[in-house]
């Protein structure tokens, strides 16, 4: 079997291409549907975690209310504003790219990355403050959810830096430029923003 597959591989030339090969075919057309499979699925997964949060909150209302009072809502609001601004910036980036103003689009993308970095730094500072107060991941179920949801969201923000890097590369290298890739990257960042808005409402605000 192995011989047959290898022979098939060699005979067809498939699989012999090198990823650094200058003669490689251009990146295949990226369909919108592919990224949306991820976005819809990720929203579904987070939706499940939000349901678990609400179920545990309903059974431990006192602990959740007391613990929530120790969160700094100003930090949460600041984070929300930063991400909403970043969403606006990435939308402006897409608009500029559509109008072939790629340098302007790249500036918007860099500003979006800056907002993401501010968000991440604020979040780390907030965690440090909570831990210094003695409220850690294992303190109670509220803080377990708080650290879990904010950490997995922060992981998405960090992945967003890679996604925005792909977007920047698309803007800066004309051979790679594809509007659909730029829009897919922007859609990912909007998802990160949307998830934070729900986390902020559930964890910081919901009484």
């Amino acid at each position: 079997m192995t011989t047959a597959v290898t022979t098939a591989n060699e005979a067809s030339g498939v699989g012999t291409a090198n990823f650094n090969d200058g003669d490689s075919p251009p990146l295949r057309a990226v369909d919108h549907g592919a990224m949306w499979v991820y976005i819809v699925g990720d929203l579904f997964i987070f939706g499940g975690w939000f349901v678990f949060y609400l179920v545990y909150r309903a059974s431990e209302q006192t602990i959740f209310a007391e613990s929530q009072a120790h969160l700094n809502q100003t930090f949460g609001l600041f984070n929300t504003i930063v991400l909403l601004v970043s969403s606006w910036l990435v939308a402006m980036c897409v608009n500029a790219a559509r109008a072939s103003r790629y340098n302007e689009a790249a500036r918007y993308a860099w500003l979006t990355i800056l907002c993401g970095a501010v968000f991440a730094a604020t979040k780390l500072y907030e965690w440090r403050s909570r831990i210094a107060e003695g409220r850690s991941f294992t303190s109670n179920d509220f803080f377990m959810f708080y650290y879990f949801l904010t950490a997995i969201h922060l992981f998405h923000v960090l992945c967003g830096f890679i996604v925005l890097g792909v977007l920047l590369r698309n803007l800066q290298v004309s051979a790679l430029r594809a509007q659909v890739v730029i829009e897919n990257c922007a859609a990912y960042w909007h998802m990160v923003d949307l998830l934070w808005v729900v986390i902020f409402a559930l964890v910081y605000l919901l009484r």
Binding site: M1, T2, A4, V5, T6, T7, A8, N9, A11, S12, V14, G15, A17, N18, F19, D21, S24, P25, P26, L27, R28, V30, D31, G33, A34, M35, V37, Y38, G41, D42, I45, G48, W49, F52, Y56, F137, T138, D141, M144, F148, I152, F155
Partner: protein
């Protein structure tokens, strides 16, 4: 397909049945391909029968049980654990066969062949704690349930945590699939499946807290670390089978198919459709 391609004749006329069967085995590559492919579904069926029907070790029991509760749990499953895990150990090698086939597909991608080897390595690393050590723990519990209570509690936690708590290995395996598929220019696997692998990758994160908690949704049998994870994993696994089945089918349809008659088929009918 070239006109002057080398040809394979059918089995020699007038041969005995074993001779014709042997000829077909040597030349009919689809048979080998599909045997390797079906090794994985067969393994999953055996896995499910062992864990859910015979041993009934899935879903996992709670992490906060005392020794008396653990002993009672084992007593109810003693014979099932013995029979189920013996069956499981006999077939534990089957996924290796199948993963070799998946690695062959990864090597056909335009991304570096290193992804194929890395996938084999991570899947092998995942099998040791996630299947073997887990099974050993349950088998040892069933072998001598009257053993020292501390040892019994240790084996109980060891068996359950090695299954759920080491899913992080598959985080890396999923990451390898994601990168290889998204970089691929040969359209070996659909791009949407690369994005779907990120779901699996995300949920593999959530099993890590199983090492910390004994109560709540993050334990080895918790709603988030186990049940919700299984919903996402199960959905992804169905996609995995469908996507890889189609990819393998594409290869199989391009392999030479010996004719029953004296007609011949091209040897180099390998080009992708």
């Amino acid at each position: 397909m070239s006109e002057d391609a080398a040809m394979i004749a059918g089995p020699p006329p007038g041969g005995t049945f074993p001779a014709r069967l042997a000829w077909r085995w040597r030349h009919h590559h689809q048979i080998e391909l599909w045997i390797v492919w079906w090794s994985m579904p067969v393994f999953y069926v055996i896995f499910s029968i062992t864990y859910f029907v015979l041993a009934r070790t899935m879903p996992p029991p709670p992490p906060h049980w005392n020794v008396a509760e653990i002993r009672e749990w084992i007593a109810l499953r003693h014979n099932g654990i013995d029979i189920g895990y013996i069956l499981f150990y006999l077939t534990i090698g089957l996924p290796g066969w199948h993963i070799g086939l998946i690695a062959t597909l990864l090597k056909r991608m335009s991304a570096s062949p290193a992804y194929a080897y890395a996938y084999i390595g991570t899947m092998a690393a995942g099998t040791v704690p996630g299947a073997l050590l887990n099974g050993f723990g349950y088998s040892l519990l069933a072998l001598r349930p009257e053993r020292d209570p501390a040892a019994l509690a240790f084996l109980y936690e060891f068996a359950n945590l090695t299954f759920v708590g080491t899913m992080g290995v598959f985080f890396v395996a999923s990451f390898i699939l994601v990168v290889a598929i998204l970089l691929d220019r040969n359209n070996i696997l659909p791009r949407w499946f690369g994005f779907a692998c990120i779901w699996n990758l995300t949920t593999e994160f959530t099993v890590a807290p199983a090492w910390i908690f004994r109560h709540g949704p993050m334990t080895w049998t918790g709603g988030i670390s186990f049940y919700w994870n299984m919903v996402v994993y199960g959905t992804w696994q169905i996609m995995y089978f469908v996507v890889f089945y189609k990819a393998i089918n594409k290869i199989a349809s391009n392999l030479p198919r010996p004719q029953a008659s004296a007609e011949s088929v091209p040897l180099n009918a390998f080009s992708p459709s």
